[in-house]
Every structure is written in structure tokens, then in C-alpha cells.
Amino acid sequence: MSYIGESRSIAPALTGSEANPSDYIALLKPRVMSLVIFTALTGILLAPQGVNPVIGFASLLAIAVGAGASGALNMWYEADIDAIMSRTRKRPIPSGRVTAEEALGFGLTLAFLSVITLGVVANWLAAALLAFTIFFYVVIYTMWLKRSTPQNIVIGGAAGAFPPIVAYAAVTGDISLSSIVLFAIIFLWTPPHFWALALVKSEDYRRAGVPMMPNVKGASHTRLEILLYSLVLAPAGVLPWILGFASIAYGLLAIVLGGAFIVFAVRVYRVRAGGEADRCAKSLFGFSILYLFLLFAEIVIERSFSLGLALLARLGG
């Protein structure tokens, strides 16, 4: 009697895999990872005393891998929804290139390794925050909120907003007001960003049974909420300058970009029918990405510049 023969009879799915490394990279949601790397880098650079570049790089890598693990676990749980929606049906699991079990094992392994690595490399406060972020995204958002309430991405948005706090904690061992402000900006940015997409893709979400705001409360209510969140986000974006951890150049940029964000949101609120309404929603979605990127890029540039000056002063003195 062959064990292999037995396993074949009870496990017909055991037929070999054609998955490439690129399929496993796709499980990590590289685009989300790049945003996490960028916002976490901002959190690292906020550290007042500077940071050892090796420890900073390793911490950033651990946080990025933790975010990727969350993505893989999200795809494992949401394979049924992903198979229905046009935006996600080519992902590795619904397309059959990777099995759900492989994605689960991959995600759990990376989640464990990323948390342990951050604990050893940086400190256990940061590791605990990273573990909580993964738990929040996978269990609170993916398993619970996403399929049960139109507030799913409002509360779930906290998971995407945590990286600057985790990164700051990794290099300082502490949580500061500055990292909480960055959290608040991403947290307030998430609803108008995703609801602009949901307005255009509402039919997809309806077929998949995901209770996004336009499907539950209607497009008109969603447009109002987008506008209200934009009105709160714009002043929140200026806070880094008001609180003194960004320059006046950042402050002016945040005022201009915040004003533009509100203009885009007003257009979404006013234009409600036909292809023009879709174009307005897509414009807001696109601009929202640019908004967050430019604000955080300005902080990265400013902090890198001041850290460079401090290094030069130390070398000179």
C-alpha cells in the first residue's frame, strides 16, 4: 500500500501547481504595500532623534511584509467575492493559479515572521502594533465589517492608517501626537477615496453582496458623506504644519490640495447623472491618491533634508 496512492484517492485537488513567484507577489497586493511603505517611511522620518538606517530599513521591510501578509489573508477569505467582481476576478485564487489553502499558509507564515522580525529588530511595542494592525485588517475588517455594514471602510480604514504609528514606534519605542495626526489624515481620507470608487463600481459590489454605502444608503447619501468627509479632511491635512512638525511650505501645499479636494467632492455632489457623474467620481478617486501622495512626499522631503543637514553638521563638527 502506498501512502502516495492513498493521499491521491482522498485529495483529488493534489495535482501540482503552475503558480509562479509573481502570483505569490500578487497575493501581497503590491500597490497597497507601496502605499504602506510610503506612509511608514514618513512615520520613521518623524522620529526626532533620527534613526539608524539599517534598523529603519529592516523595520520598514517588516511593516511592508506585514501589510502584504494582511493582503494575502484578505484574498484567502474574500476569494468568493473576488470571483464575482470584475476588478478582482483575475486575482491568483479566483483565477485558479493559487489555492485558498496555499494563500492562507503563505499569509499566516509572513504575518508571523513580520511581527517576530519587527520585535527583534526594533521593539515589542511596534511588533504588538503590527500584530494588531494585521488582526484588525483581517478579522475586524475582512471577516466582520466588510460584509455586514456600509461603515465597513470607515472603521476598516484604521488598518490602512496604522503604518505611520507602527513605524514611529519602531524607531522611538513610543507613540506621539505627530504619528497620530498622520493616522488621522489617512483615516479621514479613506472614506471619500473608496466611496468615489464605489459610486462607479456599485453594480459590482451589489452583485457580490458587499454592503457598500451607495448600495445601502443610495448614491445621493454617499455623495453627501463624501463631501462631509472632505470638509473634515482638508483642515486635518494642515495639522502637521499647525502642530509644528512640518514647514509652512507643507502648510500651503495642504491648504491648496485640501481646497482642490473639496472642489472635486462638490463636483461629485452636484453632478449626479450620466457619464459625467461617473467621470467626476473617477476624477475624485484619482485626485485623492495624488493628494495623499503629495502631502506625505512633502513631509518625507522636508524630514530627509533636515536629517541630511544634521548629519552634515555632525560630520563637520
Binding site: 502506498s2 501540482g16 503552475e18 513567484p21 534598523i55
Partner: protein, 55 residues
């Protein structure tokens, strides 16, 4: 143990064999990078004092 008369497990197609090799290379590179990272971090955390000890 499989005997010679019984099927020798799953027969992979050429595409599956190629994919498996690519996955193995990727895992090898990832493990190698991880070991290197831990080494570099260890040196960075110990600092220059690592060279300053009695032999």
C-alpha cells in the same frame, strides 16, 4: 513507501516543473536575503563595540 509497480505520486507537467523550480529559486533567495538581513541588523545593533573585545 511506494513500490515500483504503483504510480510514483503525481506526474508534473513541464509547465508545473518549471513553475516549481521558479518557486524554489524565489524561496531560496528570500531565505538568503532574510539571513543576510538578520546578520546586518545584528552588526548594526552591536555597533563598533563588536570589534573591541579581548581575543
Amino acid at each position: 513507501m511506494a513500490s515500483e509497480t504503483e504510480p510514483n505520486g503525481i506526474e508534473l507537467t513541464p509547465q508545473q516543473l518549471k513553475s516549481r523550480r521558479q518557486r524554489n529559486v524565489a524561496i531560496g533567495l528570500a531565505v538568503g536575503f532574510f539571513i543576510l538581513l538578520i546578520y546586518v541588523v545584528t552588526i548594526a545593533k552591536l555597533g563598533p563595540g563588536v570589534m573591541n573585545r579581548p581575543l
